[in-house]
Symmetry: C2
Subunit: 331 residues, 2 copies
């Protein structure tokens, strides 16, 4: 029930390779085989595309599958490795975390060889796949109870050169939003491990966590745009149409830009994502549900900003996040 | 810990009344107090509006709250009783069923006085509130993993006169879809109990089960349209705008109109709700996720129909429903 993580095929072989990344077994379960694809067309960028990091974000696996179908027709150089589902145990459960050990895969990188199954997945990806790539796209979505526009995101990176290259790569998706997300809870995230190795890492957040045909077309176009920017495929990058404006904006957000619920109750959104708000504008209303005479509480904007995420409806606890706003970068 | 269900206020008193519907305690928990509102403006229709029947469908409670705020300004006659949350235990858990007893409130009507808490809620509503109304609007939503347009729905009713009046009432919401839903699993549903007493009962299904500001405006307009049709408030009924077309259509659907997943995997929707499809058109694709060489399976339309519900993305089991189509009524 042990062993070392390995590939069942040589992903560096010329042309198409299909096989599995084998995650060794441990005390909690036997080995896992994660399907993996690569297309090596010689010199050029080395891109790793991953999906299914969180099991309730399924746009990524679907866009990854579409990529596998289209690359043999479109890729002109370099190597693209695609792992559509990083965490099949969470995907099968439609759960953010792995049910077996309760861990969030995107908080345990670079993983641990002797750890529980989530840590062993992170270890296998970090040790076997990450060294093969210079650029990583990790295809996420927002949780189902949030509204969020299709976006390419990154956390702030200390190295200014890597930061500039990462933002440029993120903007190349030409999605409605490129977001520089200053976030406190980044320990164990996939991007931090990759960036520490000098790699360009873009985390896409493809909408509100439910998969619709219209949005999937936007996501697919975004990934295609990024591959064109890398020179991996030919074509003209275009802002994906559909209901989104034919442009994109780059914004940044900080921990104090999260609006919290003032009490327990049902949150009612009063604005939509990408709405611009001024100081005092109504973002949403918190309705205590235990009494109809309890006063509903307005949640208002502090300063001019743009709503990038808004909870789409759930019973919330006091001090739970209900909206996230952002602003244009200062420089 | 027992007793009989009762109201803490006289909802028939003239003007506004606010109080609670008290659901007696039982062996599983103590009594529950459900906030309830009424506005009695004399002769006219007697309407009961309920929300929060399922705890993960929160548009209803929010629209019910808006109604409570607006009625004192707008209602001209009759009586409107509003119970925003039928099942607070499920709402607090954001769960379809009641966590305490695992029961689906909308399958245990008319309830049972000595039963578990879900059955006691149904009993209290059936015995105390239902007799006070001649018309009922129960404000539901679709589950978060489905896409569904704002719709007013009814099951087929044996009595042709009540059926005609019910469809007319449903169409008065002027939502994008009025759906006559022939459904096998109706035992214990709220509407069946109400219709057996000769009442007009409309079940609204407000979109895909996540609450957004744009859609909430449509839902609110739909309920307002229905109140205008009842003569309870004044105003001009208009098709709610936003991204939906300014019209509505009445369709019917039967158990064989549900498309099932041919295998376990991730369902990828390839069309949107209200799309018209012809025989053989692609509805979606089922992707087995255990191997990249496993063939993805196309799920295609049987005959000309209109997609009314499509799963928005989840890991599905074999034979699980992934889409529902409908057709114009034959007569």
């Amino acid at each position: 029930m042990s062993g070392i993580p390995h590939l069942t095929v040589d992903l560096d072989a010329p042309g198409v390779s299909r096989g599995h990344l084998v995650v060794p077994g441990g005390v909690d379960r036997g080995e896992l085989s994660l399907p993996v694809f690569s297309l090596n067309k010689g010199e050029g960028p080395r891109l790793l595309v991953t999906g299914g990091n969180h099991g309730n974000e399924l746009e990524g696996p679907l866009v990854a599958r579409r990529l596998i179908e289209s690359l043999p027709e479109t890729q002109t150089c370099g190597t693209v490795i695609v792992l559509p589902v990083l965490n099949p145990l969470a995907v099968e459960a439609w759960s953010r975390n792995t049910p077996l050990d309760g861990l969030n895969l995107n908080r345990v990188f670079p993983g641990r060889a002797g750890g529980s199954v989530t840590e062993r997945i992170a270890d296998a990806v970090s040790r076997v796949l990450l060294p093969m790539a210079d650029t990583v796209f990790d295809l996420h979505s927002f949780e189902p109870t949030w509204d969020f526009p299709p976006a390419a995101t990154t956390h702030p990176i200390a190295d200014p050169d890597l930061m500039a290259r990462t933002v440029r790569m993120a903007e190349a998706f030409k999605l409605p939003l490129t977001l520089v997300w200053d976030y406190n809870d980044t320990a164990g995230m996939f991007d931090i491990v990759a960036q520490n190795q000098g790699k360009v890492f873009v985390c896409t957040e493809f909408g509100g966590g439910t998969v619709g045909a219209d949005n999937l077309a936007i996501y697919e176009a975004g990934v295609r745009n990024a591959l064109i920017a890398l020179g991996l495929i030919e074509g003209k990058a275009e802002y994906p149409t559909s209901r989104q404006p034919k442009s994109g904006q780059t914004l940044e957000t900080h921990p104090h830009d999260e609006l919290k619920s003032p009490a327990a109750g049902i949150f009612e959104p009063r604005c939509s994502v990408l709405d611009q708000v001024k100081d005092g504008d109504l973002i949403g209303i918190l309705h205590p549900m235990d009494s109809l005479s309890a006063v509903s509480i307005d949640i208002r904007a502090h300063g001019t900003s743009i709503v990038v995420a808004i909870r789409s409806g759930a019973h919330v606890h006091a001090n739970q996040g209900v909206a996230l706003v952002a602003r244009p970068p200062k420089n």
